[in-house]
């Protein structure tokens, strides 16, 4: 399955965040979103996930238009933003069993790809930032979606844990999955394509009725 964006644009109010974004993600490949801070990397990922509306352009999955299709996205995409989607007062075990229950799939405690075993009985607010991020990434291996949309997945992870993340990413790709990742860290994987965003604001506010 190939995910393709055809001249995507996003608006916030009258402000144009970006426009003319073209890319294509083939199965088993990884695409990095590059650009300076404030160029709209998070916005692009949220737009791909379906949290923001597309102002212009098309998003297709194998030639099928999914720009406004909520169901297909829910089925194929997994979005992980800056926040970890974890409840502060629950233990890691409760959190994981909730995901298992809702997706009817299991986390592989045998191999334990994100090394959550030692912190299973800790509550989330007792965990460090990096431990929380590890639990959040563990969800990726539970939900088993085709496309991962990850925003700074390795933020606050140390080198050892970045290696863990790299291995689940490689696993995911070898199973025919693909990922769109916005990151500043060097994960050590060579992307098959890049999306470059620039900080060009010249096209800003072209439709403002007040000017």
């Amino acid at each position: 399955m190939t995910l393709t964006g055809h001249s995507l644009a996003c608006k916030r109010g009258e402000n144009l965040i970006f426009s003319e974004i073209n890319f294509s993600v083939i199965p088993g490949s990884i695409c990095f979103v590059k650009g300076p801070n404030g160029s709209g990397k998070s916005t692009l990922l949220r737009l791909l996930a379906g949290l923001l509306g597309t102002a212009e352009g098309l998003l297709t999955l194998d030639e099928i238009d999914i720009t406004n299709d909520r169901e297909i996205r829910a089925e194929k995409f997994l979005y992980l933003g800056h926040q970890n989607v974890l409840k502060q007062h629950l233990t890691v075990r409760e959190q994981i069993s909730f995901w298992q229950g809702i997706t009817k799939k299991c986390y592989d405690f045998e191999t334990d790809p994100m090394n959550v075993q030692p912190i299973l009985n800790k509550k989330l607010h007792q965990c460090s930032e990096g431990q929380g991020r590890r639990v959040a990434l563990a969800r990726l291996t539970i939900e088993m979606k085709k496309f991962w949309l990850l925003d700074e997945p390795t933020a606050s992870l140390d080198t050892a844990n970045i290696q863990l993340f790299k291995s689940i990413l490689e696993d995911h790709c070898s199973n025919g999955g693909s990922a769109v990742i916005a990151t500043h860290d060097n994960i050590g994987i060579k992307p098959s394509s890049d999306i470059h965003l620039s900080l060009d604001k010249s096209s800003l506010q072209r439709n403002n009725p007040f000017i």
Binding site: G13, L204, Q205
Partner: protein, 244 residues
Amino acid sequence: MHKNSRSLWEFANPKRFVSIANKLIPWLTICTVLSMSVGIFWGVFFTPNDYRQGAAVKIIYIHVPSAFLAINIYIMMLIASVIWLIRRHHVSLLAAKAAAPIGLTMTLVAILTGAIWGKPIWGTYWAWDPRMTSFAILLMFYIGYISIWSAMEYNEKVGDLSALLCIIGSIFALLSRYAVIFWNQGLHQGASMSLDKEENISNVFYLPLLVCLLGFVSLFFTLLLIRTRTEIRIKRTTSLLRMN
């Protein structure tokens, strides 16, 4: 929209709105000053006293128009909010925002004059009669609407939220009103301004009251135009500044 199309939506263009408002404001001001002074002078000095209430009836010339405006301004805000939600015209949203403080003032005027009037006639400043309760409810929803604008910075999101708040407010204001009416039928007299005026209020009071009403309505429109123009200018200033 086509440049030469003649429709109501022309006002939706902020620039056009400002230029039309600039032309209208002086005329409306004259209309307001004239009709308000004529109406109030006529009413206060050249009408006889009511046979039951005596001279106290003269308060009617501010009480009824302000109460009329208080309710209708909320309805106007409701319509403007719906227009914003459906057609996304900024002027409509800004007009709703601009109208709210006027509505609040009118509600306060209606409550104040009503209380002062009520003391000699009913023997109390305030009674929890359904109509007075309705105004108390209206006051609360005006305050809620204004507070959402004052608490957040202007953007489309806040515009949507305030428009939704206005709609939700009117649903719950109506519900509360009928909940109150269910439990007590009050001492307020019926509407003074209904179509069959003969029943409610005699001609002597009715004509000056109409002139006062005209005065208050044009006062509202003058203030509304000035305030909306101000809001548009604020928006324009911030947009220009952000372009740099």
